[in-house]
Amino acid sequence: MARAWPVPGLRPRARFRDAAGRVIATRWRETMSYRDGTLAGKDIEYLHAMRVSSRRLRAAMDAFEAAFPRQEFRAYLRQVKEITDTLGDARDLDVAMERLAALLPEMADDERPGLEGMIARYRALRALEDPHIAALFERLDAEEFGPRLESFLAEHTGVVTAELNPQPA
């Protein structure tokens, strides 16, 4: 599920600016492809995949920063960082619960209640994260973050995300 999408039209001899537009647009669309599954909250793998993709997006933005006007670009980067961090808070709890549950069979009888107590506490904390994630995406929609990012990419790299139309492999 979390495999990186191929970047359409990326060539070894590409100009840095053109590659910047193609890679960032692809990673943006890839990240947002997991949005509905993440918000539904029925399968934690969607959230995991979205977080992994958002980290790839952030890494791509770091790598290609030189192709954009610094101040404006930094504002977009901060927003992407907020997406990664918000998803990360929930993911960290999912991972902590999984790891504790996996350890249970190895623990002595008198040690298990401690792990079970921690799992119960993390489960309660995890339930508080879903509203944060939903609120973040509502705000991104209200601020038209996606369309603004795609316009910004088109303006500075010439890459039009809708025409690029990145898709999973």
Binding site: P12, F16, R17, D62, A67, D110, G114
Partner: protein, 194 residues
């Protein structure tokens, strides 16, 4: 967290490879800047910062690999392995304080439950409590005790400590190997920088 250095001399209108060489060189410098500092296992922050530097280098190699004729995947794998072991060390460094915080949380919960019971008993005029009422009070107080949860948390703290020692020894061995095997020089050769 150590910030990535701004890379000078980039030109977005030149080819990907021209710029990628400079960016990768900067990220490689950032990883090697921690050599020596990480020789002390107590340098928790520096070990974490080196992990971040490895992550940046790895992603940079992955992103720009298409611009080079040489296969960069073996280098990506080496950096990823180092990043992973540093990540596992970081997990231990983060988890031990979290587990200690959980012990404090258990104690706070017990204290809050006891205060609640005492307040309720006082409101019911504790001076006139009969034996049955006292037994119910003592039973409720015992039920709010979280002692049973402590051994597991202490066991995990000890376990993470042992794992941390093993992981750190593995990290030192791997970092030493990369240096002996001229990882940096080999990568620079693959990038065609010399």
């Amino acid at each position: 967290m150590a910030k990535a250095q701004r890379v000078r001399g980039l030109d977005p209108d030149r080819r990907l490879r021209f710029n990628a060489r400079r960016i990768i060189a900067a990220r490689l410098d950032e990883v090697y800047a921690y050599d020596g500092v990480v020789a002390d296992p107590a340098n928790v922050r520096e070990l974490h910062d080196m992990r971040i530097a490895c992550k940046r280098l790895r992603y940079t190699l992955e992103i720009f690999a298409i611009a080079f004729e040489a296969d960069l995947e073996p280098a990506v794998d080496e950096v990823k392995a180092l990043q992973d072991v540093l990540g596992d060390i970081h997990d231990c460094d983060v988890q031990v304080p979290m587990l200690q915080e959980h012990l404090a949380w258990l104690e706070a919960r017990e204290g809050a439950a006891a205060r609640e019971l005492v307040t309720a008993a006082a409101a019911a005029d504790a001076g006139s409590l009969d034996e049955d009422a006292y037994a119910r009070f003592a039973g409720s107080l015992a039920a709010s005790n979280r002692d049973a949860e402590r051994p597991g948390v202490h066991a995990l703290i000890a376990r993470r400590g042992r794992e941390r020692d093993e992981l750190y020894a593995h990290f030192l061995s791997e970092w030493g190997r990369l240096k002996r095997e001229r990882f940096r020089a080999r990568l620079e050769e693959a990038l065609g920088g010399h």
